[in-house]
Symmetry: C2
Subunit: 461 residues, 2 copies
């Protein structure tokens, strides 16, 4: 989210209301389109529309790309269809396709009628790719070059075409069937002999993506190889679009905030995830959350059976000993240790630091970590229940051993479950803190009561 510059708003508002069009225009020219977009968001809708109308078409298109989706829709629906068509013509191809999907169908028809056939087709095609694929996020305004022209001719051509292209820093070399042959950067062009032929200076076999590749894997490739853009090809290796680094950054940002949702135990599917916090209804929020809550609730009911099953232990113990009172502390600690472990493992998997082959090593390591944490917390639990709550030392020993056992167990479960998910081909990020807590609750109780039965026989009557 861009940073706000609230100080500029009052000044600008004054200029707008005073009708100082030239002053406003000058003001706007001095700022980055992203900053102008922030101002539009901060102004009243009518003021924002005035601002947009003062911009020349190309700058207007740039500002559009930084506006929130709902503001984009508002701005376009307030324009006359002629202006809207002009705007779409200069907007970047991926962004206009996304915008058209959000507009009212009648308005879309009215605008598209005013565009050239090729533009209309381009918008329709881009809008038709399945959400979440390379096709749906790519743009079609990239620069191509034939392999047999010279470097000098190529630079001249780029110079002419630059205003209409999303980026001219990479050019893609295609044959007469648009089959992707190679890639040349503008830097390489500038460094090459003007008379060299493109095919001599281009790099062959460029890293590319396929139309139906998942958008996250495409964004990762851009990140891994520090690319400015990646070419997208169809099944016949024909170039059909490019995905640029700035879109890759947005995709990775969205995917990673999805991971936070999932880790909190909220179902985060792509489709609904596009909806910002305020746009999704409470009912929708309930729907996304109830599934996991229900499942965990059913898992949780197991705990009541287990407590009931072991109720006889408490009944047969001396009245001054009450094992049930430590249940929340013990299973809480287990849940916490397990959540830490899951967090660590999900992160290691996401960064590629942990691979499939590491399963055993990871388990041993997390088990050891859990053991050490359990020793520390167990000692603390012993002192707390013995010295502060004045339990008999044997009871305190039960608590201490239970903490040790539960920590070690929770840590192993927290490591094992995401690794297992990965092995089953499920995104390890679906393993949430609540899931591990619930898994560890019931099993933790069994550990607790088993230790109690073995150690507290002397206290039973």
């Amino acid at each position: 989210m861009p940073m706000r510059q609230p100080l500029l708003v009052p000044d600008l508002r004054e200029l707008i209301h005073a009708g100082e069009r030239d002053a406003v225009r000058e003001f706007l020219e001095e700022h980055h389109p992203g900053q102008v977009a922030e101002l539009v968001e901060d102004l009243e809708p009518s003021e924002g529309d005035t601002l947009i109308n003062l911009l020349e078409p190309r700058v207007r298109a740039e500002v559009m790309s930084y506006l929130e989706p709902e503001t984009q829709v508002r701005v376009v629906e307030a324009m006359n269809p002629e202006d809207a068509a002009t705007l779409l013509q200069v907007m970047s191809h991926d962004e206009r396709a996304v915008l058209v999907k959000r507009l009212d169908d009648d308005i879309v028809d009215d605008i598209l009628r005013r565009l050239a056939n090729a533009e209309r087709e381009d918008i329709r095609r881009l809008a038709s790719y399945e959400q979440g694929t390379a096709g749906a996020v790519m743009t079609t305004d990239y620069a191509t070059l034939p392999p047999d022209i010279t470097v000098r001719e190529a630079i001249d051509r780029l110079r002419r075409e630059a205003p209409d292209k999303e980026t001219i820093y990479y050019s893609y070399i295609v044959d007469e069937n648009r089959k992707l042959l190679g890639l040349v950067s503008l830097k390489t062009l500038l460094l090459s002999r003007p008379r060299a032929r493109i095919e001599e200076v281009m790099s062959t076999e460029p890293i590319s993506a396929r139309l139906d590749d998942d958008q996250e894997s495409v964004a990762r490739k851009i990140e891994d190889y520090d690319l400015i853009a990646i070419p997208v090809v169809d099944i016949d290796d024909r170039l059909v679009g490019i995905v640029t680094y700035d879109d890759a950054m947005d995709i990775l940002q969205r995917e990673q905030t999805e991971d936070i949702l999932r880790f909190g135990g909220v179902a985060a599917d792509h489709e609904e995830d596009e909806v910002p916090y305020w746009q999704s209804s409470v009912i929708n929020a309930v729907r996304r959350r109830i599934g996991w809550l229900l499942l965990l609730f059913f898992g949780g009911t197991l705990t009541s059976f287990i407590v009931r099953m072991f109720h006889w232990v408490d009944v047969r113990l001396e009245p001054e000993i009450n094992l049930a009172m430590f249940i929340p502390l013990l299973i809480g600690t287990g849940g916490n240790a397990g959540s830490q472990s899951v967090g660590t493992i999900i992160r290691g998997l996401a960064l590629g630091e942990i691979t499939r082959a590491d399963a055993m090593r990871v388990l041993v390591r997390e088990w050891t970590t859990g053991l050490l944490l359990g020793l520390l917390l167990g000692l603390l639990g012993f002192l707390y229940t013995w010295l502060i709550l004045r339990n008999p030392p044997l009871v305190s020993l039960v608590i201490a051993l239970a903490i040790l056992g539960i920590c070690t167990w929770a840590n192993s479960v927290g490591a094992l479950v995401p690794m297992l998910a990965r092995r089953l081909g499920i995104d390890p990020a679906v393993v949430s803190a609540p899931m591990i807590s619930t898994l560890v609750d019931a099993t933790g109780l069994i550990i607790y009561y088993t230790i109690a039965i073995f150690l507290l026989a002397t206290f039973m009557h």
Copy 2:
């Protein structure tokens, strides 16, 4: 993490052992430096070193930038100091500074002696900036232009300097004191009249960062404004470096995986976080986790006091009624709902969808969501305890109302705590699922027993 291409490794290994240097070199030339780096990682160290030695210096420097830090160190320490100095000369300035920090001091001295004074100073200065600031991630190999030359002269100059620059797609315009005056993109240069002066075509007041800005805020600016690089200035507005988009992607990736760690309740400070999973020792893992666990453990001890405090309720109830057995289910459900809520809010804050001014609205919304979820789960809890566990309907009603109350409460706490953290200037991502669970455990018990006392008076004797 780059994708692996295991199929290439055996072929390449064969070529290396057969001493087919030309074939290997040809093979390497056809691949992206990032792919070559993957191969080096997959080969045995000695084979990898052979591969590196076959590369010409500039490609070698590029491959270095994709290697894991520990591989970089191994490769450089295996080189003779002369070659290492040549390598540092062509490596990008930010990466060599990071590398030098990891090398053994003796080796560093040996290498730096062989470099020109200016290069040595550059490395020392970049290595001296505080970790986590713009200074520590910026590079100094950017292109600058004076304001009074022509576009044609500028392009010629860039052409000459291009091989040594991290990027030539943006040039920074500075006066004789290196004060930043403006920015011009290569695209703009190509589109401008060759005789225009740079100051006529440059954009003034470019978006910039300060030396001591937090690296995450710098990366966010690059993301928000779709920049290829951002200039970094000192307190006198003098240009001292640039941060490029690919470094910004890495920073955001690291910061966001940190959020996952924190959400799992692991302290994730910048310094230690640089250490990959396998490089940090078990002791280190324990140290990073024990703090939160201890704090939560102390918070959790509260639950045992509360259960003991309300023990009289269970004692005075009919023997067939056992309230304690539902404790794990009830507080577990509260913790789960609370974790979901925190996840939702942290995400909304991270994406900027929720702002400070929204506190009240957020609270009302999450409260309502919690109420609806509580109604659903409460109804389920009623049916479960009444029909399956055969409790008297009044007891089942206690369970149902407790679930309703705890869900609503947990949801509000889960929304409130991250908002509060934000207001206090603390990163909301420190609020973890375990923290909310622990907060909700003790208060959930009070809700449960309070409802029980009011409704179950008839069952007491």
